[in-house]
Amino acid sequence: MEEITIDVNYLARVEGRGALNISISKDGKVEDLQFRIYEPPRFFESFLIGRKYDEVMELTSRICGICPVAHQITAIRAIENALGIEPSQQTRDLRKLMAISAHIQSNVFSMYFLSLPDLMGYESIITMTKDNLDIVKRGLKLKKLGNDITDLIGGRAVHPVTAVVGGFTVIPSRNKMKAIRKRLVEAKQDAYDTVDLFSEVEIPDFERKCEHIAISDPKEYSINHGRFRSTEGLDIDEMEYRDYIREEQVPYSTALHSHVKNRSSFMVGPLPRVNINFDQLSSDAKDAARRSGVKFPNFNPFVSHLARAVELVHDIDESIEIIDRVPLKEERRNFICKAGFGAAITEAPRGSLYHSYEIDNNGIVKKADLVPPTAHNANNIEKDLQEFVLTLLDLSMDEITLKCEMLIRAYDPCISCSTH
């Protein structure tokens, strides 16, 4: 066979700036493979030092325009852990509703805008509108629903403003929550149709058993709280994260690479969440997953799309549950600022997100440590590609390139996050 060189200098349909370079020798060996993240870093961990504890969530929100909610809630929880604040049940519920709404928005964006064009043979959702207007309209409608919920609770969809240390500056009105509830009920069919769509489209038959990690809690489908658990037996508290997860720099990427101490790379995201927390999904989401014919736990990274669709059904169910139980009463936020260290792990749409802060007696940040989902996944994406590309060697160059890009998009990388 001929030598194969793949150079994608600016990966399309992912957030941020990354490239892919693969070279395969004549005897079919992967000589070189780099998922090259060249997004310029922004040094959040440097400039957060000297800033105040009550603006950390506002600043770290700006790490990512797609998942600002995840950064805000993680930052707030890490600071609360440092200060020893226990938020009220209402605050926990509203935070979860807000986080779920961001999952709806981001996962619908990933499914319909970023990956569906590949799976249906189009270059983008823009060209898809010609023959598949109904599908595009459904994607837009679901995405808008997610945004409108974030908007209602947070004040705006991108970089919301009401979530603060200790709670919320304002509680949404009952009437507006009722109106959103109605739309959630109506959206359920769209969510089922999304599951159908993603169980019907053809995905590559590729499996690689690797460690999957997500936060987990026996009582709920974990998004904001839970133990950091894996398919290989990891089961730790968020405060112990740094004893188990290590990062190292690779010369060709501005995103650091993560691995489990004394083990290998790992995967975070919707597929690990569904694999690890299947029992906690709503009964309708479980049924939808079963009807799809795909078995979980599953180790084909392309099943991530279906996992997002299954989560969408769950997200709608749990949003309705929260709206039905949350009392929506005004609450006081009282706490004392003191020195401490706090860490938090939440599930951003793309997977586990870690923040930790050390603050002094005046509430000034002395140290910050942030690991977004795509920094967790970058190493694993390369490991997947190493094996996946070898299954493609009979295809044309264009097809090999597209399939490798599709694998990266299945992870829905958020490159700006990863370099923060």
Partner: protein, 257 residues
Amino acid sequence: MVKKPKIAIFKFTGCAGCQLELLHLEDIFLDLLELFDINYWVMVKRDNDEKEWDISLVEGGISTPKEIEEIKQIRKKTKFLVAFGDCAIGGCIPSIRNWIPQMEAENQVYPDTSTIHSMKVLGIGEYVKVDAILKGCPPHRETIVELLKSALLKIRPRLKQHPVCVECKFRDNACLITSKKMACMGPVTSAGCGAICPSLGRECEGCFGPMSNPNASALASIFKDIGFSEDDIKRKFRKYAGMSSEFQKEALHEWKK
């Protein structure tokens, strides 16, 4: 039929939130596709045309030598260049690091800094001529629509120059500075958000950047009078627009002299 304007959307050092805000125009997204030919948008499209554009929306600040070259190329191929959001205008939140020596910032994050090629992060206007700016972190959807409509009509977009205070008055909000002694940046911050934060019980943090001709030093003195420390005040002005000429003195901490 009139030829559709060709639009490109670019991302530099930033968070993609401005592009997301554009994508959040779900109700009119399909109409936009009818009216404009979006032929370069790497976050959304796989086939991107790099010839030339009528309008380029540029998100993100410039923070590497490579980005300087890229923005210059984009300028050459663009008729109407828009600094899309605070990062493209003046670096926004990431510009807080400009107050730290670059090596110190890098050492905090990377064990080996030899492969990092970052500089201070600045707005695109430092390197190329900019035809319009869309303020905000992120800009408000209505402002984006206003700009796109004006582009179609070939008229000047009506972008707000007054402070957030005016929007607070429209919404009948009590002043947070006078009534609650909160350090609200509203009096020096450009309107455009609809006074989101003061309407939701939170002080304005200034995410739309300086209004036209603000009196920043007067506001800094008021903050001091109501009990904020000099470091608190410095942090306020070194946030979304610390690099701007309007906030320069306060960010540099020279206002107290």
